[in-house]
């Protein structure tokens, strides 16, 4: 009897285990199949294809009415790609040099379906290739031996991150990292006083602003926004909370970049008048709002919490009660882009390429996100006019107009152009800071050490940079991916990249780029013009099956090139 009971209990357990075993694999099975099949097919095909014959790829918009910049992107021959634009674009080389437009391997894009692995395991042409990405701890890259250019000195490049300026400095001082981004405002002198460390100051080619979304009352009222513009004492913020080299912003454009117009003066600080206007408009007394920010250090905002509290105090001084809301970085950016943030939000922008279009068109142009609510048609008109002219002297008046209109409509309140810097161990050769925040580690030599460890503010979000806007992600991409053109190391001038040169027709509407020969991707595939065409097309055509990415926003493409083809309504 006893044995019978024991036996039946065993039987039940066995049966349970059996069902568990049977149920287990049935889940993953169907998902495995489709991923396996495409991996085999496309990897084989391209290795055969080039041996046979190069079939140039061409992609065209039916007409230019869709509102974007591209009309045709085509491969003329194996190493020539031609862009036909709907309107002239003098900033085109600057744009295509940007790391949001890297050239990916066609086979790899197709294999990954334009998302998923392409975000986590990028395959590029850059001097470093991804070795491992341990989410939450570090990103390890190794030297790519078949790199077309000069091989980097360090075998291994490691990206780590820490949001605390003090912690970054401690790691640098301890020698566990070779370089850090954004030392704290108070640490500049400490670093300069230390013979083992070297400071590389980065000029303030950025903007920190207080954003407002004009779809939420009372921010839908222009006078209210103007009043808030008068209520913020920017000088006080810059004097007290920014490192040296920072300046007060009196417009969205930083002074060193084309599009800055000293003719335009911002609203004068006048809290009494601001309070009076707010009372006239019925906002005060008793207005309660929020100040949202992400607790992430950037060159434009070295101490987010402190600045947020100072703005809170300044608003309290005119009777506005603002609650501080700290959000997670990714969801903050998504909410801002989607226009979901009521109240004020603290955000900034660092130059990606040195042109007004990078600042103004991205934020206030036709293709801008809903961050500030509904756009302003008169600003659009001025920016469109400026963006399509070739001669800087002709463009300039349009930017005066645009900056004047931004002052008038106050979609945001510009506050500061923050100076920042990088710090490296003194023995790192080739260390630098870049005004575009795209430090390039391939040229750095960490002396006798085999690996170069870089510590930045935050972890990259994804490594498929067409679908990223975060500088921390872009910097990581820039070590592994390359675009058709590039920026001079430590500077902002456009130099050759994967293309040896790009030439324009006289009216700046047809750009022809000649690709470098013998460039290999990290997976061994050869670069040809079709790779370049497809890399653009998957971003351009919203209906393309590979238009997937991480979240599918492709924010930079939309903002820099006007609109997607087949854009969803």
């Amino acid at each position: 009897m006893k044995y019978l009971r024991l036996f039946s209990a065993l039987l039940v357990i066995l049966m349970l285990a059996g069902t568990l075993v049977a149920c287990g694999p049935s889940g993953p099975e169907p998902t495995e199949e489709p991923t396996e099949e495409p991996t085999e097919e496309p990897t084989e095909e391209p290795t055969e294809e080039p041996a046979e014959e190069f079939v140039p790829m061409s992609y065209s918009a039916p007409d230019c009415d869709y509102g974007g910049e591209f009309q045709t992107i085509e491969a003329v021959d194996e190493y020539t790609i031609q862009f036909t634009l709907c309107y002239p674009d003098p900033a085109f080389p600057s744009k295509i040099a940007f790391s949001a437009f890297p050239i990916n391997d066609t086979a790899y894009l197709e294999e990954t379906g334009g998302g998923g692995d392409v975000v986590d395991h990028p395959i590029g042409t850059g001097p470093y290739m991804l070795s491992s990405w341990n989410r939450g701890s570090e990103l390890v890259m190794t030297r790519f031996e078949d790199y077309w250019g000069e091989a980097p000195a360090a075998d291994t490049l490691i990206f780590r991150w820490n949001s605390e300026a003090a912690a970054r400095l401690v790691e640098l001082q301890a020698g566990t990292v070779d370089g850090i981004d954004n030392p704290g405002s108070d640490d500049f002198d400490v670093i300069e006083g230390d013979p083992n460390l070297a400071l590389y100051e980065r000029p303030g080619t950025n903007i920190f602003y207080l954003g407002m979304n004009n779809t939420f009352p009372p921010f839908d009222n222009e006078r209210v926004r103007q009043a808030f513009a008068m209520a913020i004492d920017k000088q006080r913020i810059v004097d007290n909370f920014y490192p040296r080299g920072s300046i007060v912003a009196d417009q969205f454009m930083p002074p060193s970049i084309f599009g800055y117009t000293p003719e335009v003066e911002w609203w004068e600080y006048n809290p009494e008048l601001a309070q009076q206007i707010l009372e006239e408009e019925g906002v005060l007394p008793g207005f309660q709002t929020t100040i949202s920010y992400r607790d992430v250090v950037r060159g434009y905002l070295p101490e987010p919490g402190v600045v947020a509290q100072d703005i809170q105090a300044q608003l309290a001084a005119i009777g506005v009660e603002a609650e501080i809301v700290v959000m997670e970085s990714g969801s903050f950016l998504d909410a801002a882009d989607a226009g979901q943030i009521d109240g004020f939000h603290l955000l900034g922008w660092g130059a990606d390429y040195p042109d007004a279009t990078n600042f103004l068109d991205f934020h206030f142009g036709r293709g801008a996100s809903d961050q500030f609510g509904a756009g302003f048609e008169d600003i659009w008109a001025a920016l469109d006019a400026g963006a399509t002219l070739a001669d800087p002297d002709d463009r300039y008046p349009h930017y005066i107009e645009a900056n004047e209109l931004i002052r008038e409509h106050v979609p945001m309140i510009p506050i500061a152009h923050g100076g920042s810097g990088t710090a490296f161990r003194a023995d790192v050769e080739g260390a630098h800071s870049s005004p575009l925040s795209n430090e390039y580690f391939g040229v750095m030599n960490p002396g006798d050490r085999e690996q170069l460890v870089w510590m930045q503010n935050a972890e990259p979000i994804g490594l498929y940079c067409p679908d990223e806007t975060d500088g921390e992600s872009l910097r990581a991409c820039e070590q592994m991916h390359e675009s058709l053109l590039a920026y001079e190391i430590g500077g902002a001038a456009v130099v050759s990249g994967l293309a040896t040169e790009c030439t324009a027709s006289d009216d700046l509407t047809v750009w022809t780029c000649t690709l470098r020969e013998g460039v290999k991707f990290h997976n061994g595939a050869d670069l040809d013009a079709n790779d370049a065409v497809l890399s653009y097309v998957v971003q351009w055509d919203a209906a393309h099956e590979l238009h997937v990415g991480r979240d599918g926003n492709f924010t930079y493409f939309n903002a820099l090139f006007g609109n997607f083809l087949n854009a969803p309504e």
Binding site: A166, A167, D187, G305, V306, A308, D310, A313, A316, V326
Partner: protein, 315 residues
């Protein structure tokens, strides 16, 4: 009949209570550490009550908004400046220095005592009320109700307290009141268990049986006989619990989930200035020291009370 028992028992209870409390108090006052704890708590309570008189500045106003201060060349994170100790007269006096937003640290510390005491007493009070009701009902009624209540308590206990508090605040949204409720909720099981254990041991005593035989209602017996006799361990647990609650609240605020800036809550202040531990240590030291002090005080008093009220330690 009912009236008669009433008078009889009150007499007996008051006699018993008197001697118990009297003994306990006498023994408590013999322990130096408990007296120290009481003294610190007493001082903290006085500071909290008279904060507006003791503070030299408004705790949330930036010195940049005070014209005579702003023009005197003060910088943020200035170390303490006390005129009596040789700080130059022309520099404005700030007893504990300035914080990153140029607010007077001393005034913030003074006002901070209000929040810590408030959180400590309110969250423990909340937990005691809910926990002892649950524990008493469970212990007294027994059966499946007891089982259900205590299993729920076990589930709550299975989570690390702070982690569960963080989860609750994440759902309800950050803020002082939400943090307080979260800490209250996670400390309920401790009180429920203590209460249940004492109720079970008391309810079988002869005087309870006698009451039952005399026909007193269940509720009456629970409230008038069982609860008063089960309350001593609750007091000890509660006093120690205040210390934990203050610490947990400081931890939540440090993580940005509790009191929101510019509230001068010690944990929030500590969290906001944690990067300045090397550059401006006073900003981290003083709030941290105050948290340590008040938690220590409640722990000392709690330990003293436990020794004084524990019948097993017969002296």
């Amino acid at each position: 009949m009912a009236e008669k028992t009433e008078t009889k028992t009150t007499k007996r209870r008051s006699h018993r209570g008197n001697s118990l409390w009297h003994d306990a108090m006498r023994y408590l006052l013999r322990q130096r550490s408990a007296i120290l704890g009481m003294a610190i708590i007493g001082i903290m309570v006085l500071i909290a009550i008279f904060a507006p008189l003791l503070a030299t500045h408004d705790p949330i106003i930036s010195m940049l908004d005070v014209p005579e201060e702003a023009s005197s060349g003060i910088r943020r994170r200035d170390p303490p400046c006390i005129h009596l100790l040789g700080c130059p007269e022309e520099t404005p006096q700030h007893l504990l220095g300035l914080d990153s937003n140029l607010r007077d640290l001393y005034s913030r510390i003074v006002y901070g005592s209000r929040y810590s005491l408030y959180i400590g007493f309110a969250s423990v009070g909340f937990a005691i009320v809910i926990g002892s009701v649950l524990g008493a009902v469970g212990g007294y009624v027994g059966g499946w109700l007891d089982n259900v209540i205590m299993r729920i308590m076990d589930v709550l206990l299975a989570f690390p307290a702070l982690l569960l508090a963080i989860a609750i605040v994440t759902v309800t949204g950050p803020g002082l009141v939400n943090a307080l409720l979260a800490i209250g909720i996670v400390s309920i099981p401790a009180y429920a268990r203590v209460m249940r254990a004492s109720v079970i041991s008391v309810k079988e005593r002869d005087f309870v049986t006698a009451d039952r035989a005399l026909g007193a209602s269940q509720i009456n017996i629970l409230i008038r006989r069982v609860l008063p006799n089960a309350i001593t361990p609750l007091i000890v647990q509660g006093t120690l619990g205040i210390a934990t609650a203050i610490l947990d609240a400081a931890a939540l605020s440090f993580l940005g989930l509790g009191a929101q800036p510019p509230t001068p809550e010690w944990g929030t202040m500590l969290g906001a200035e944690r990067n300045q531990v090397f550059t401006a240590p006073h900003l981290v030291f003083f709030p941290g020291f105050m948290i340590m002090l008040i938690v220590l005080a409640f722990n000392l008093l709690g330990d003293g009370l436990r020794d004084a009220l524990d019948p097993r330690l017969n002296r």
